[in-house]
Amino acid sequence: MFDIKFGEDGEIFLSGRFDATQVDRAREELSRVDSSCTVNFDNLDYISSAGLGVLLSVQKRLNGSSDSLTLVGLNRHIREIFRIAGFDQVFKID
């Protein structure tokens, strides 16, 4: 089960499986992001190209105002997916 939660300091917490069934909901939730923030992947188990696309959309939108997402807590599988996609070049990953 996929979930998105917003922390009090604006940090975004993703959990579960970010797959193609979650795109509409994720787009809607993340549409409120309008400045730089951290996205916490600690509890995210899986991401497909659908999830990557949602995050890329947000990053491209923020880039217009010189803001960006910083991704933290990626497990080794998800980190490898980001590397294969070349997304490690367009996101700051801590």
């Binding site: 499986r17 797959d19 193609a20 069934t21 899986y46 497909s48 190209s49 659908a50 990557l52 696309g53 890329l56 959309s57 990053q59 491209k60 880039n63 599988h77 490898e80 997916i81 294969i84 996609a85 070349g86 070049q89 367009v90």
Partner: protein
């Protein structure tokens, strides 16, 4: 192990339940299970999006043969359309140059060892092979 799924994105939940059952039965490594799920999701969603001339269910067959995971995705009574073909993706493009979408097949090609498309008698079959000793993704 074989099962058929409705031709819509929402069916992915049932697809993942099926792959989890198969992973448990065959004690697949987590890396192989994740790669299997990712490859199946990308191809299943491409079929749903781009092969729209039928409402037939999509069959997924999973097996372990000769030390490899073999996935067959079969689509019945459709026109020929090879969803495994796509332009090469340049993963070095800048954020500004990047387009949203089009990365799914690139991921699949990089996480499985072999991908083939066959078409005969209006039936399309995609076969994926992943050697079980590959543990990276």
């Amino acid at each position: 192990m074989q099962r058929s799924f409705n031709r819509n994105i929402a069916a992915l939940d049932k697809v993942f339940a099926f792959t989890a059952e198969f992973s448990d039965e065959n004690q697949l490594d987590e890396s192989v299970s994740l790669a299997m799920n990712l490859a199946i999701e990308e191809l299943f969603t491409n079929i749903v999006k781009y092969t729209t001339d039928t409402g037939n269910d999509i069959s997924i067959h999973l097996d372990v043969l000769d030390g490899a995971l073999v996935v067959k995705i079969t689509d019945f009574d459709v026109e020929r359309f090879d969803v495994t073909r796509s332009d090469k993706v340049d993963v070095n493009k800048s954020l500004e140059e990047r387009k949203v979408g089009g990365i799914g097949l690139h991921l699949v090609r990089n996480i499985v060892d072999k991908i083939t498309y066959e078409y005969k008698d209006r039936t399309a079959c995609i076969t994926l092979v992943k050697h079980l000793e590959d543990l990276d993704v």
